[in-house]
Symmetry: C2
Subunit: 218 residues, 2 copies
Amino acid sequence: MPEFPITERTRVRRIPKRAQYDKDTIYRILDEGLVCHVGFVEDHQPVVIPMNYARRDDALILHGATASRLLKYVQAGHPVCVTVTLLDGLVLARSVYHHSMNYRSVVVFGRGRLIEAEQEKLAALEVLTEHILQGRWRDARKPNRQELEATTVVSIAIEGASAKVRTGPPVDDEDDYQLAVWAGVLPIQQQALMPVSDPRLRKDIRVPPSISDYRRTR
Amino acid sequence: MPEFPITERTRVRRIPKRAQYDKDTIYRILDEGLVCHVGFVEDHQPVVIPMNYARRDDALILHGATASRLLKYVQAGHPVCVTVTLLDGLVLARSVYHHSMNYRSVVVFGRGRLIEAEQEKLAALEVLTEHILQGRWRDARKPNRQELEATTVVSIAIEGASAKVRTGPPVDDEDDYQLAVWAGVLPIQQQALMPVSDPRLRKDIRVPPSISDYRRTR
């Protein structure tokens, strides 16, 4: 299984037994997430902004308005950090000290480049759209030239990445297992609720199965 | 309603009509989230790490192992950015271009300080524990001196903050409303599933209502 090299930049420092460096684990997490948090630096001040994203091969794609400060920073080739976190549960131990969370997170380091060619831009927007909802690129009206010009799309080559994963029940101190405290995991899941049709939706249009049967976990 | 001043650092640049600067909105979002993304800088490289957190008055509290690189950075007083994002739905427009997300996010800027005094440290850990699950501080075994010493707790005074919120249906180009494309919102919610008892749980202990009735939205 291909792995990302463990470097000074990507090595997981805290609780290294939770670290994973194989592409399969890292890409599954990236492919399940809907929101990433992008870190950049402005006048020595770190700034973290939530963004939509999608993975294509060994790169992450971001998009936004052409005026976006973040995207200008990324396309200038500065180093960025992109982090995706999936929360899976509250780990409720008998002691406060051993409380934890079950989660899967990925930290990506890389540098971006602007996607300029129209065909590549369209292909990247297709990947972004399909990441959110499979089949949506086919169903929705595609971007016209004016919309394409108003959109900046960048590709961030993944130079290094690591995943950190915690699963399973709490781990308490041996002496604490006898305490009269409930312990276990409260699973947390991001779920889709009933779709809400646009008030201006044409009366003859039904919710398609791609939306009524939406499931994020792949 | 008290507001954070709009500064060069906190002003929302993209789609300013979604910006909110009042404490009430900002603190509601911070109080609902379970995971924040902390941005710091190491050798000009931005790094973004997911963390648990809690708000106390006008400060955010983080904790972790004493050896934590991130916490050492924070307690040294460097500027940090802490971002919390709650995803509320996929906004599916008739055109790809107008696809969006409903979300509530907060970006906080501030500087940290180490909480050293034992009583203040315990109080901060209580806030962190109660943020995850109300009543848990009372129910679980409290930290002993050894556990307290192994834990670093920092408080980040909120110097500036802004929220960004999108709600409601998609907004399409007028010409597109006649297209035969379903449009609307697919609401997304982080939900708690059935609690899973620790395999080593004492047989006489039942799941308490604070856990079986867990709801995040306040």
